[in-house]
Symmetry: C2
Subunit: 510 residues, 2 copies
């Protein structure tokens, strides 16, 4: 066991762990903590199976957890300001347009929308800022620190997932702790597991509540033919992750008054079942409702449209229709573009944060940054190329400029770049590798159960509603909207629960 | 379509129905309306799949629904009185003792318990009375009626299942109705689907609340070594129906204050993890808790021990230990014996109901009876034998005297009896076949989806706590505790959702 490992404090015999695995599976079946086996689906039945979870909560410092929640309001302010600054956003992402079909598609759609005239001044967004704790072992690092501190892994502005799973797994760990499933002697039977330092999680309600405010902000139908407004939830077809998507829809319907919410699959379904009026209202024509009586869409909530392959002709037309409409987009296309890694890297440069924030707020945000370098011909780029040339990149990760997360290169960076044409190097960001403290846990998921050293990632949800007129941007709603906590084995690089590389977890605050 | 068929009033196109099936499956995955595929279970994962449900609610007369709820209090009174009358109970079931190992085992355990001296004056029970509507087409029937009226199918006193599934499916139909999944034009978005005549269902809370009262009635630990009391939930191992069992356990833990609840598998686990003190307290020694610090069991809630094969030596010892203890049994063994079909049939005879109830209450109960005959040599038995001899048994069902439900003979009764030794005939009851009105619905379950004429069965849960000292029996708690509603295709005889012969449903009250 590494000396830096923090113990969760839970000790169980093998017999207890096996019983506990069964308890957890049953809890997951009863509470929708599941993934759908889409291949098994028929008209009459479908299999589902538990999403990956940590058996025990993992330790996390309370001070950093609170800090992450607090600074979310500043991050929200930062990214809404970025999304309102088209020129800057184009400047930092323009190199990607020629080489990346997704970047190109989004900018093309944005320009077409702009040419048609903005039909809606209000924008909405649900963000998720992901952090790990960083413990520097390297005195030459730019981030020396003795206590582990919060460092941002990435900032997601589009289709932020995991909120519902996080809520359910938090409920599960709180339930197990309270009932003594981990340790009968310390079973509290208490209703307030905050006493046990497992924070509560209200993700589903807070996101539904936010979308309900966006719906309310739209107001009553503008078009004479529409008698009511509704929220449109854009999803990928055949999604195995419906237990993450659906709870927000259920919560919207379960509000009082309910927010009527309808799902449409990305692509042709949008073209088939929506229309734009002359005055750009987005009408929804669900099957089963007479065409003469459409609904007017107040809010378009996007959980699809983040992959390049989705932007074929049909996909582009679909996104264009949504963007051109007077519906409030959650998010609109400039917020979407702000999710690119390149934006995160651009903010590192001196003075950039201060474009959008007061110096005090900029300083708070900058503390969460680790170094990120472009691989272009700027001074920073040449510095990074020198590191690659020197051959020791063990303290770095290579990330595609385009993405929020995923498709990273963790090892053998010099070898990877050698096999990549130099012209394509600017498509990558070289990011200082965060060195998180390890703890010990048992992770259970579709691919197995394994005990060992683990590392965790904290995600903080933020929600914003803002109004933009000419050069003026006014914040209407700015809130912290929940948290996610994911844990993976320390020897695994990527963190994606649904891909099987990690587990949902709950921080045991210390 | 039969002229007697009642239409549910929901009309959907095939496209809408297919979309609806997917909506329902997703809802079920998200709300634990599932069965566990036990064979697929490993340490790290398990498959589950949706329990059978009707796509639409089925019509049911509001007056009969209310009446079934109301008379449950009288049924509770009746069956607690029966369970308190050992002599009568033995008299009506004694013929079964020699031929039925389960009946024999239960009576043997009861006698051993009695010999040791009753350690607990308080008994608890959760009952479920099952009804169908009866429409007599046969003027010679004993139950002529024009309006469909409530007739009892069976009365269950032991391990009554289905409460949790019923609650979830009721929630599902209410949700689908409210959101317009059946008919967008009439989508109400209302929070009170009672307006739509779909009754709410609080089964899980009401059963948990009842068990919590039983737990409270036990009081504080009597034994010096025990610091706390807990409820013991006895279950069958490897149960695929955990989504019906577990919610009651979760609800008990989620109460404020929580009722500590622990599961033990039927059989050896009971012998391994419990002990009886000299003063008959039942101590629970869970793995992981030091033996010096046991819990004292307040209530034993039985969801296992209803099948003959469970009473091998180990099973008998286990049940005996539970029965001999001072824990409150839910139910105790005499209540268990009262579930035998033979008891239901014996109550038909003139004067029998009046042993236990006032004439007014007896009359109310008798209205729910259809004729039942023994096949013995009593006058009623000889009458029934004559019917068999005459060869037309299409208005009758043959049911084993022992069981609450299941293993019935629906067709070719004369042929079946011919191949059965006459000495075994008294093991059967011949019951008038209830002729329920048919409606039209689409049923979806693990074996397929099918549209067609269906019939429904209403179950009403009742809960009782009573105190018996010498010949005195005092009711401490008598309540209605919820409802279940199951629907099957009209051409299927047996009604068992978990066996795939029916679906959970919600009555659309009319």
């Amino acid at each position: 066991m590494s000396s830096e490992m923090v113990d969760s404090g839970f000790v169980s015999s093998e017999e207890q762990i096996i019983a506990l695995l069964g308890e957890i599976q049953d809890w997951q079946i009863n509470h929708g903590s599941l993934l759908k086996n889409v291949k098994s689906q028929s008209e009459h039945s479908v299999y589902s199976y538990p999403v990956g979870v940590s058996v025990y909560p993992s330790p996390f410092p309370q001070s950093e957890f609170r800090r992450a929640m607090e600074i979310q309001l500043i991050y929200n302010e930062l990214y809404t300001a970025i999304a309102s600054n088209e020129d800057w956003l184009y400047h930092v992402t323009k190199e990607m347009v020629s080489s990346h079909p997704l970047a190109n598609a989004l900018w093309v759609i944005h320009r077409q929308t702009k040419a048609a005239g903005a039909a809606q001044e209000i924008s909405a967004a649900i963000f998720r800022s992901d952090y790990m704790l960083h413990m520097s072992n390297n005195p030459s690092s730019s981030n020396d620190c003795i206590e582990p501190t919060l460092k941002q892994v990435e900032f997601n502005t589009f289709s932020c997932a995991g909120a519902s799973h996080s809520k359910r797994v938090a409920d599960m760990h709180r339930y197990m702790t309270r009932t003594g499933a981990y340790d009968l002697e310390t079973a509290t039977g208490q209703h307030n597991p905050n006493a046990l330092s497992l924070p509560s999680n209200d993700n589903i309600d807070s996101l539904a509540s936010f979308l309900a405010s966006a719906h309310a902000a739209y107001g009553s139908p503008k078009n004479d033919t529409a008698k009511r407004t509704a929220l449109l939830y854009i999803v990928q077809p055949y999604n195995f992750n419906i237990a993450d998507e659906r709870p927000i829809e259920y919560a919207l319907w379960n509000r009082d008054p309910p927010v009527p919410t309808y799902r449409l699959n990305w692509g042709d379904d949008i073209l088939q079942h929506t229309s734009l009026t002359d005055t750009q209202e987005l009408l929804f024509h669900p099957p089963g409702l007479p065409v003469r009586d459409p609904m007017e869409i107040s809010v378009v909530y996007m959980r699809a449209g983040y992959e390049g392959h989705e932007y074929d002709d049909i996909g582009q037309q679909a996104r264009l229709r949504l963007e051109m409409s007077s519906a409030i987009k959650c998010p609109s296309i400039l917020s979407h573009i702000a999710t690119f890694k390149k934006v995160q890297q651009a903010l590192i440069a001196p003075g950039e944060l201060e474009r959008f924030l007061t110096p005090e707020k900029a300083a708070v945000i900058r503390k969460t940054f680790v170094m990120q370098y472009p691989l272009d011909k700027t001074t920073e780029g040449l510095f990074a190329r020198q590191i690659v040339h020197d051959g020791d990149c063990s303290n770095y990760i290579l990330k595609p400029s385009l993405e929020g997360g995923g498709n990273n290169i963790y090892d053998r960076i010099p070898e990877f770049l050698e096999s990549t044409p130099t012209a394509a190097w600017p498509s990558y960001i070289m990011m200082e590798r965060i060195q998180p403290p390890k703890s010990r846990n048992v992770l259970m998921g579709p691919s197995g159960v394994e005990e060992g050293p683990v590392v965790s990632e904290l995600g903080i949800y933020g929600a914003c509603l803002w109004k933009q007129t000419n050069q003026q941007s006014e914040m209407l709603h700015n809130s912290y909207a929940g948290w996610s906590f994911k844990t993976k084995h320390a020897h695994i690089d990527e963190m994606s629960v649904v891909k099987g590389y990690g587990c949902f977890d709950t921080p045991c605050l210390q």
